[in-house]
Symmetry: C2
Subunit: 201 residues, 2 copies
């Protein structure tokens, strides 16, 4: 045993099983926690347990929530005819931060990636198609907000093929020069997309 205490060893082991945290960082975190007051460590441990205990997936949009359906799906202020499809909950929060989107969401929990064995069945696609058949609140438009990488592109194409026959307007986020950046420093693919998607003034 490297450490003089089994308790430290198992804490380091648990911490280093987290993504982006290696053995060295886990050691530093464990020694940091040992220096902190007991209340702080308890707060962290209980916050993790409470999160795991209370958070579930919304049965409508598959977003993380404490109440099912989630506050966005039940909100009366939301436009129920538009659904924005995102890969992960983090993407949903990125769009919410704009304060400019008032439709609903659907979280796929991933993108198609045949190399890693992620096919249509691994994503929340069944749930999305089920929502398309909702006669009480018909869906007019689906906005595809996948990440601009290979997996995102493939997922966008797959969803387009899936949704178009249902006679629903399918759109996707614009690609172009990000705000605050320099044209000079943008990569070729981005400039090329910005040219293709140019807007008449």
């Amino acid at each position: 045993m490297l450490y003089t205490s089994e308790a430290i060893e198992s804490a380091i082991e648990s911490l280093s099983s987290l993504p982006t945290i290696g053995r060295k960082t886990a050691q530093r975190l464990a020694l940091h926690l040992l220096r902190q007051p007991k209340e702080d460590v308890e707060k962290l441990a209980h916050a993790l347990l409470a999160m795991k205990e209370r958070v579930l997936y919304c049965s409508v949009c598959c977003n993380l929530t404490e109440s099912d359906p989630c506050p966005i799906c039940t909100s009366q202020k939301r436009n129920r005819s538009v659904i924005c499809v995102v890969e992960e909950p983090n993407d949903l929060f990125a769009i919410e931060r704009t304060n400019e989107y008032f439709g609903l969401y659907h979280v796929l929990h991933g993108a198609l990636n045949p190399l890693e064995g992620i096919g249509p069945n691994e994503l929340k696609l069944k749930e999305l198609l089920h929502r398309m058949g909702n006669t009480e609140h018909p869906v007019d438009e689906v906005i595809l907000a996948m990440n601009p990488n290979v997996e995102g592109e493939v997922t966008t194409q797959y969803l387009t093929k899936l949704l178009k026959p249902l006679d629903i307007k399918v759109s996707r986020l614009a690609r172009g020069i990000p705000m605050g950046s320099d044209l000079e420093f943008a990569d070729e693919a981005t400039v090329s997309r910005a040219l293709q998607g140019r807007v008449s003034l």
Copy 2:
């Protein structure tokens, strides 16, 4: 509230209070934990709580331990006349990994750093001096194994002044070219120290 769940928010807040973990990493960790089986999250939380509960400081060498005095201080195989002084528990483990040191340790829990308000009273110096007065197991040599930076140097000098009058041999780790590296790529300070500390063959 950014997230649709208070429980996620407070877990992210607790996680991002850890060193080297910012808000974005904390978000990623929280979402990762939500995807893991409940047992894994419980294992992590309980490991942290158990560590905080069971680990204490050895009353002799101030190292982290579950039993006081620690296994190193109570070991009969250790040479009780040599004490290696280190800054942090991690430094102790670095020396233990060599499997070539069989004396005792003393962990200072820091290095002198007047700019950050860390003076002699903030370090475990009193405990070290107390050990020097042990008549049952007299100390012959103290090895100073501070880090090779300004704070470490200052601490080394301070300890040397403190221990020399007690008629104890005081030594410190050799400075020089690290094994496996190239002379060509070593910095000037390291080469200079290696020259000064050259060994006759």
